[in-house]
Structures are given as structure tokens and as C-alpha cells.
């Protein structure tokens, strides 16, 4: 991108943010239109519940109105909105767990010693079977078993494809902390998919020694 265009983009971003700060309704409407589907789908992928995703959507944009004065212009407004939405989704997860009484889920599980399940060479591969049929229920159960922060890191990095820098800004974590949570999330999710599949289908497997 040439310097003139960069300057122009930067100037128009600044102008857009200043219109938002002045309470310009058409600028705010444009912002909502641009991000409403993204925020709703982020909520759905973290919470797996339409009602909760709608709450996250409403809370996010109400907070945008409330906090626009604290938005720092050197940041990206999209990343800022993702941060608000992710925090709203985390709050919702905690509220849901409190209601269900799953206090243990609030803590991060140290699963350094988790042993990956090995698939027997002659057994049908559940992942291949799941790809062939409706797997939503199994996946939902598997994601539900993940601690909140693992679930959020996994969705932001592997599903939403955000950069590690963006996730660091959103969650206030170091790159190292993000990768360590991502590693555990992937492994735990895989194990949970296998466990849910086994429970449902009685797949044959054995544990790696």
C-alpha cells in the first residue's frame, strides 16, 4: 500500500471514530452493520446458544456506545469490538456455570500429564465418521468440557483465525500463554470428541502407553 493511501485510510479511520464519539447515528449504524454478524457468530461459537449469543451481541454494542471515549485510536476498532464481545461471552459462560453449579470448571485444569488416546489401527476412525454425518451434538458436548479460557483461545485462534497479536490484545495474555492454552485446548478437545463419540457410538480404542 502506498503512503498516500495509508495516510488517507488512517485519516478516514480517525474521522470515523471522531464521528462515533460525537454521537453520529449514521456512523454508529455503519459500525453495527459491519460487525453485527461477526459478533453474533463469535458468541454462537463460544456459547453454542442463540439466546446467549444475542445477549452478547446487545451487551457488546451497548458497551461500544458507553466506552467509545476510552477507545485508543492507535488500536483497530474491530479488535476492540472483539475484545468487548469476548469479555461479554466469558462473563456469560461464568454466569451459566454458576447457574449450573460447575464450580470446578472455573479453574484451569493442569493436564500436562494427559495421555492422548490412540486409535486402534483396525478400528473405524471416529473423526472420519463424524465428518460424514451430523456431528454438532458431539462437538457441542466436547466444547462444553473445555475450561472457559481454553475454549475462547481455541475459537479466536483456530476458528476465527485471529493473529496471536490480536488475541494478546483481546485477552491480555502473552504469546507464550496463548500457545500453551491453545495446545491444551486442541488436545483436550480432541480427547473430549473421542470420549463423546465413544459414549455415543461405542468406538473401540485403547490408551497410548
Amino acid at each position: 500500500m502506498d503512503e498516500t493511501k495509508q495516510n488517507h485510510d488512517s485519516a478516514s479511520k480517525q474521522e470515523f471514530v471522531s464521528r462515533l464519539r460525537q454521537g453520529d447515528r449514521s456512523a454508529f449504524r455503519k459500525l453495527v452493520e459491519t460487525y453485527q454478524d461477526k459478533v453474533y457468530n463469535l458468541g454462537l461459537k463460544i456459547l453454542w446458544n442463540r439466546e446467549d449469543a444475542e445477549d452478547v451481541l446487545q451487551e457488546t454494542f451497548l458497551k461500544v456506545v458507553d466506552k467509545i471515549d476510552s477507545f485508543r485510536e492507535e488500536s483497530d476498532i474491530g479488535t476492540w469490538i472483539y475484545r468487548i464481545a469476548t469479555n461479554a461471552a466469558l462473563m456469560k459462560l461464568r454466569e451459566r456455570r454458576r447457574q449450573r453449579g460447575h464450580l470446578a470448571d472455573l479453574a484451569e485444569v493442569d493436564n500436562h500429564d494427559i495421555k492422548p488416546t490412540r486409535l486402534a489401527p483396525d478400528a473405524p476412525n471416529p473423526f472420519d465418521e463424524l465428518l460424514q454425518k451430523e456431528s454438532r451434538e458431539i462437538l457441542e458436548k466436547a466444547i462444553d468440557a473445555l475450561p472457559d479460557i481454553y475454549r475462547v483461545v481455541f475459537v479466536l485462534k483456530d476458528i476465527e483465525n485471529l493473529s496471536t497479536d490480536e488475541i494478546a490484545q483481546i485477552l491480555g495474555l502473552t504469546h507464550e500463554a496463548i500457545y500453551s492454552r491453545l495446545k491444551r485446548a486442541r488436545m483436550q478437545l480432541r480427547e473430549a470428541v473421542l470420549a463423546a463419540y465413544k459414549e455415543k457410538e461405542g468406538a473401540r480404542n485403547y490408551v497410548m502407553s
Binding site: R25, F28, R29, V32, Q36, D37, Y40, N41, L44, K45, R50, E54, L57, Q58, F61, L62, V65, P116, R118, L119, P121, N125, F127, D128, L130, L131, S135, R136, L139, I143, F154, D158, I159, Y179, S180, K183, R186, M187, L189, R190, V193, L194, M208
Partner: protein, 74 residues
């Protein structure tokens, strides 16, 4: 490197530059170890399964309620 250490590396470095030394070692190990190959394959498929869930268009009634809350005209 043991199988377990190898798996740790794979998990942490799935996005590592393919030419890096670690990645080359992982690659060599994978070529000779069907267990690790199956493991990496299932990790990739776990991510793929999740990605397969399509994005939803915001339902009209959800958008209406949002705009009402934000005092925007539908």
C-alpha cells in the same frame, strides 16, 4: 525425541515455518511413526469439524431487537 515430547512439539508448533529444524524433525518422525501421524491427523480433523459449522446470518428478529435496544431505525 520420545513420542510424547514429539506430540508436545507438534501441538505447540503446528503453525511453525515448515523449513525450521524442529519442523523438519517432526516431519521425519511423522513419516516413520503411524501413531503420531494418526494423532496429528485427528487433531487437524477436530479443528476442521469445528470450522465446518457454518456462520449464521443474524436472524431478522434478533436484528430488530438489537436495533430497538440501540435506538436505531430498522
Amino acid at each position: 525425541m520420545s513420542c510424547h515430547e514429539m506430540l508436545e512439539k507438534i501441538c505447540a508448533d503446528l503453525k511453525e515455518d515448515i523449513d525450521s529444524e524442529v519442523c523438519q524433525e517432526v516431519k521425519r518422525h511423522l513419516e516413520s511413526c503411524p501413531d503420531c501421524r494418526a494423532y496429528v491427523d485427528s487433531l487437524k480433523k477436530t479443528v476442521y469439524l469445528y470450522r465446518k459449522i457454518p456462520d449464521e446470518k443474524l436472524p431478522d428478529e434478533v436484528q430488530e431487537r438489537l436495533y430497538k435496544t440501540l435506538k436505531l431505525k430498522v
